[in-house]
């Protein structure tokens, strides 16, 4: 079941192609990572979803029906460049922006107090934004994004400007919102957040989609059958030599206090993990580290972008 489905979205600015026949699906109740280098077309895509910009061609379906102007009320948008009225009071501002999203004043007030409580904000309501710290203003911005309970959240770099404590708070809020039924599109350059939060990703590069799918599948596809191996032995050099006769071996660097030899061992075709383990056991070394080298999203990102020049 997809909350959002995009088919063949194309947008040109003058002669420059910002989005080239872009398609993807966002499953309901998931976190979808929108990745890509600067200038790849992420902002254009997000603006199209928010109906700020009109696409030249392509279709967008929300909940299996074409996107309507009124659907802006179903979307909560946190732009990368944050902005609030500096000289407006926090309470007035939140209620105003919630009303623009179609909420009644009364509901907006109720939900605002709920979020004040949830994000641990008290006694700030009558301050002006210009009197708040940056982190505080970011929290207000987050409340503005989620106050109308949108089924679809579009968060562009939601963690920028937060200290680690508050970033963690927001991260947990995002996961809670997902549990509560929301679908979240997350655009970020912080790959560790993608690893932690995203179920699916799409990678945009030079206005084209170059990679998409569930994070697990993508990682699986990028597996290289390589293992991090660390062991202790008086004959370390000899064993390393023996290993390289049977497998592809490269010296490696990873954190392990006790290992004397640290290697990346890549299985050749038709070799299994057990054959490597068996080999190591037979040499009677003390194995201190053995793990599969799983490609990080960061690696995949860099590799894919480099591949596509």
């Amino acid at each position: 079941m997809n909350l959002l489905e995009i088919k063949g979205l194309t947008k040109k600015y003058g002669d420059k192609l910002a989005l080239d026949c872009f398609s993807f699906k966002v499953p309901k109740n998931s976190v979808f990572g929108l990745l890509g280098p600067n200038g790849a077309g992420k902002t254009t895509l997000i603006r199209i979803l928010n109906q700020i910009t009109q696409p030249d061609s392509g279709e967008i379906y929300l909940d299996d029906r074409p996107l309507k102007p009124k659907d802006v009320e179903l979307i909560g948008y946190l732009p990368e460049e944050r902005g609030l009225y500096k000289s407006m009071k926090v309470v007035e501002q939140i209620i105003y922006l919630a009303q623009l999203k179609g909420m009644s004043k009364k509901d907006a007030k109720k939900r605002m107090l709920y979020w004040f409580d949830r994000l641990n904000i008290k006694g700030w309501g009558n301050k002006k934004i210009e009197e708040l710290s940056k982190g505080m203003a970011q929290k207000i911005q987050f409340i503005v994004t989620v106050i109308h309970n949108p089924p679809l959240l579009i968060l562009d770099e939601p963690f920028s400007g937060f200290d680690p404590v508050n970033a963690n708070l927001i991260k947990n809020e995002i996961l809670t919102l997902k549990e509560e039924g929301a679908t979240i599109i997350l655009s970020t350059h912080r790959m560790e957040n993608v690893e932690e939060l995203c179920d699916n990703i799409a990678l945009i590069h030079k206005s084209k989609k170059v990679l998409d799918g569930p994070v697990k599948t993508i990682k699986n596809n990028y597996r290289t059958q390589t293992y991090e191996v660390g062991f202790q032995s008086e004959r370390a050099e000899e064993i390393t030599r023996q290993l390289s006769n049977n497998f592809t071996v490269q010296p490696a660097y990873f954190k392990n206090i006790t290992a004397q030899a640290k290697l990346h061992v890549k299985l050749n075709d038709h070799q299994s993990t057990s054959s490597l383990l068996q080999f190591l056991i037979d040499t009677e070394v003390e194995i201190t580290h053995f793990s599969e080298l799983v490609p990080s999203i960061n690696d995949i990102f860099i590799k894919t972008v480099e591949q596509h020049g």
Partner: protein, 428 residues
């Protein structure tokens, strides 16, 4: 509540809650009234100084008749030769010396009287002296010719043309002045309002753009709604201010006139005292003006002119990143406004229904100012209607054009666009 009315409400409240707005609204009328008093006071102080003038009049032709007043005093230097008299007047720091040469003929028609002074004398003083002297000499001439002065005065008549237009509405020279002042003031005020409130709209657009809140707003509402709401909300703030000024100004004027008028009727125009008859006539003329029509047309032309210009202001605000970048785009706004004012002041006063004045009161960029100046002189309702139709059609067109620039501009950062690029946005 619809989004548009939400935006209008926010913009209105944001304007009128602004400290500068509150101070301006309540302080300006006080400042204006205070200024009038100050000017009046200063000019009365300026005239207080007593001027002493030496008189050299060997034949005693006029010296007996020249009375000393609060402002003028005469000393007789006739016993000295002229050059010595001048030197002495200079030494004693007198204001000047009036020299009446010895005259041969008893009947003087064109006496060659001279006035010597260190600095050029004030024109008021000169004309005052001229009047006094010519009256004295005329009296002397009459007496010499054996004509009785009182008879002469009785025989004189004063003709005052009662000017009426073909509709039978009476006008007068004074009424002409009154109309000019009212029309001029209305036109000028309108220009000020357009500039002040147009700038407010522009600054607010720039603020939203640099604040980046605009992206959040337009993810909820259409850019056109935001622009229209902003312009409307700001115009309501302008009308609020105008209304407060009208009430405060009327109140202050009432108080001040009741305080000042009975004791010193001339304080507001100390140089040429107005007697109470003229005052009454002035009021009569003001009341005779189509005041309701003027106020109503001010209101309608304000709406039209303001929307026309502030749409342009909004587009400029959207096109740039900061207020300093707006300068080059100000020309298309300031030039027609100035043109309106100058055309108004030069042609409407000369001939309110002349070709130029009529033409400019139909061109939408100048019509709010020029037509407002013409209206006190009486403009046919159908002419006003045509002018208004052109104005509001243009308002509609300009708002549509401005919205195109606005829509693109608010999401553009960095380089300031050129006129060429703006044109491209318009074609989009």
């Amino acid at each position: 509540m619809g989004n548009l009315s939400l935006i209008i409400k926010r913009e209105y409240l944001a304007r009128i809650k602004n400290k500068a707005f509150i101070i301006m609204t309540f302080l300006s009328p006080l400042l204006v009234v205070g200024m009038i008093f100050l000017v009046a006071y200063l000019s009365s102080v300026n005239n207080d100084e007593k001027k002493i003038i030496a008189l050299h009049d060997v034949q005693e032709l006029i010296n007996k008749e020249l009375p000393n007043t609060n402002q003028l005093a005469f000393v007789d230097f006739s016993n000295l030769p002229l050059d010595q008299a001048i030197m002495r007047a200079d030494k004693e720091n007198l204001y000047g010396l009036l020299y009446v040469p010895a005259l041969e003929d008893a009947a003087i028609s064109n006496p060659n009287i001279e006035f010597f002074a260190k600095e050029a004398p004030s024109s008021f003083l000169v004309s005052d002296l001229e009047q006094k002297i010519s009256r004295i000499i005329t009296d002397t001439n009459l007496a010499n010719a054996g004509i009785d002065k009182t008879q002469m005065q009785q025989a004189q008549t004063k003709v005052n043309l009662q000017i009426e237009d073909f509709d039978g509405q009476s006008t007068s020279k004074l009424a002409g002045y009154v109309k000019m002042v009212f029309g001029g003031a209305a036109g000028y005020l309108l220009m000020m309002f357009i500039i002040i409130y147009g700038n407010m709209v522009m600054r607010s657009v720039i603020e939203e753009k640099t604040n980046r809140i605009v992206e959040i707003i337009i993810s909820s509402v259409k850019p056109f709604q935001l622009m229209l709401g902003k312009i409307t909300g700001t115009s309501l703030a302008g009308l609020t201010q105008f209304l407060i000024w009208l009430i405060l100004g009327g109140f202050l004027l009432l108080i001040s006139s009741s305080l000042i008028a009975p004791n010193e009727p001339g304080i507001a125009s100390a140089a040429t005292p107005v007697n109470s008859d003229e005052m009454a006539l002035l009021f009569q003329n003001i009341m005779a003006l189509p005041l309701f029509k003027i106020s109503l047309s001010f209101f309608i032309y304000f709406i039209g002119g303001y929307f026309l210009y502030s749409a342009i202001y909004a587009a400029i605000g959207a096109a740039v990143d900061s207020e300093t970048d707006t300068q080059q785009f100000m020309f298309p706004i300031i030039i027609p406004l100035m043109l309106g004012i100058y055309v108004g002041f030069f042609t409407v006063i000369e001939n309110p229904h002349g070709t130029v004045a009529t033409l400019f009161s139909h061109i939408p960029l100048t019509s709010p100012i020029v037509m407002l100046m013409r209206i006190p002189f009486g403009v046919a309702w159908w002419e006003v209607l045509i002018s208004l139709s052109i104005l509001f059609a243009s308002v509609f067109f300009v708002i549509m054009m401005a919205a195109k620039i606005y829509r693109i501009g608010i999401l553009m950062y960095g380089k300031k666009p050129t006129y060429k690029e703006l044109l491209k946005w318009l074609k989009n």
